[in-house]
Assembly symmetry: C2
Homo-oligomer: 165 residues x 2
DNA sequence: CGAGTTAGTAACCTAAGCTTACCATAAAAA
DNA sequence: TTTTTATGGTAAGCTTAGGTTACTAACTCG
């Protein structure tokens, strides 16, 4: 609960210590992450649309960036992406319907369905990599390459560290 | 995760250049931000619940961390938070119903509604600041204080820079 | 004073994921 | 070889967090 410091406000209603509030208000980690990811998501969608992928949403890249060229199962991709297999399965259905991936049976496991890129899907993959690369360049130009790298590296470690805990 | 580029690169279907894909696949900014913010959100909720605020969701701190102690209007808080006033208005309704804030008419503007913390709300504010402080300490312990600071500072500049563009 | 702007609300929509429940197959145990 | 348990996947529905459109009431400025 509250930190038991002494100095307090004069009015009854203010009988709570507030020395630290303004400090805490600045750069709230939760809010920064939220806003940053909204910004990036918006930019990714814009970039994709600008390249003619009108039917794609940014989350579709979650599948793309988590399958191997040789093909990956739904569960594997989901694990890598850090989402449930149901969520990944839905992405797969959508991308399959749009012709970007095709789904093959796994010869070693009749339960598994292997996702792999079609020709169109590979083009999409390249384009989406390009979108991200352009965005990162733009961001680097704005806040500095070194700081961007620091963010990405730090975030990667953070995510990795926090997810096994 | 390796699965190098050496697969079946010779088939017709693979006639697209893929040299850069593996590189792009690592540490995707969009995905990192998304996962990191999910993690932090979850931790915030856990921390709040652990302190007895069972009825709160993490987004409620979006209001808390964007109003002044002297009171702020819905629109001001929304602007600071980077969300619409409708969204902030809803948060205000919820927090008012739960007794954490109270809403007063603005003497200078009959349209405006000023949000300010109740006694309980101030306690909540302190507790939520404490939650964040603890989390940040925990994160600093995991990835290092300096890297955490770099992330927060970098993100703050990123958000600021990107939002006016 | 009237035109346009701003604070706020209401109703509905969207995105992205999660939970619970279930089936079919595979792998481990008995 | 059965039985049991774990795993890949799907389905249906829920949750979170926010946005869009549309509107009212009040403010501001020429």
């Amino acid at each position: 609960m509250a930190q038991g410091k002494s100095g307090q406000g004069s009015r009854k209603d203010d009988a709570v210590e507030f020395g630290t509030i303004e400090a805490g208000r600045r750069r709230n980690m939760r809010q920064l992450l939220l806003r940053a990811s909204r910004i990036v998501n918006r930019h990714v969608v814009e970039g994709l649309h600008a390249r003619g992928y009108a039917d794609l949403r940014s989350t579709h890249t979650t599948l793309l960036s988590n399958i191997d060229l040789a093909g990956s199962t739904v569960t594997t991709a989901a694990d890598r992406a850090g989402i449930t297999k149901q969520a990944m399965g839905r992405l797969a259905t959508e991308l399959e319907g749009a012709g970007y991936i095709r789904v093959r049976a796994d010869p070693k496991d009749a339960r598994a369905r292997v996702l792999l890129l079609t020709r169109t899907g590979k083009k999409l993959m390249l384009d989406s990599l390009e979108v991200m690369a352009e965005l990162e360049q733009r961001y680097a130009g704005s806040i500095g390459q070194d700081r961007l790298v620091a963010i990405l590296g730090g975030l990667a470690d953070f995510v990795e560290g926090a997810e096994q805990a």
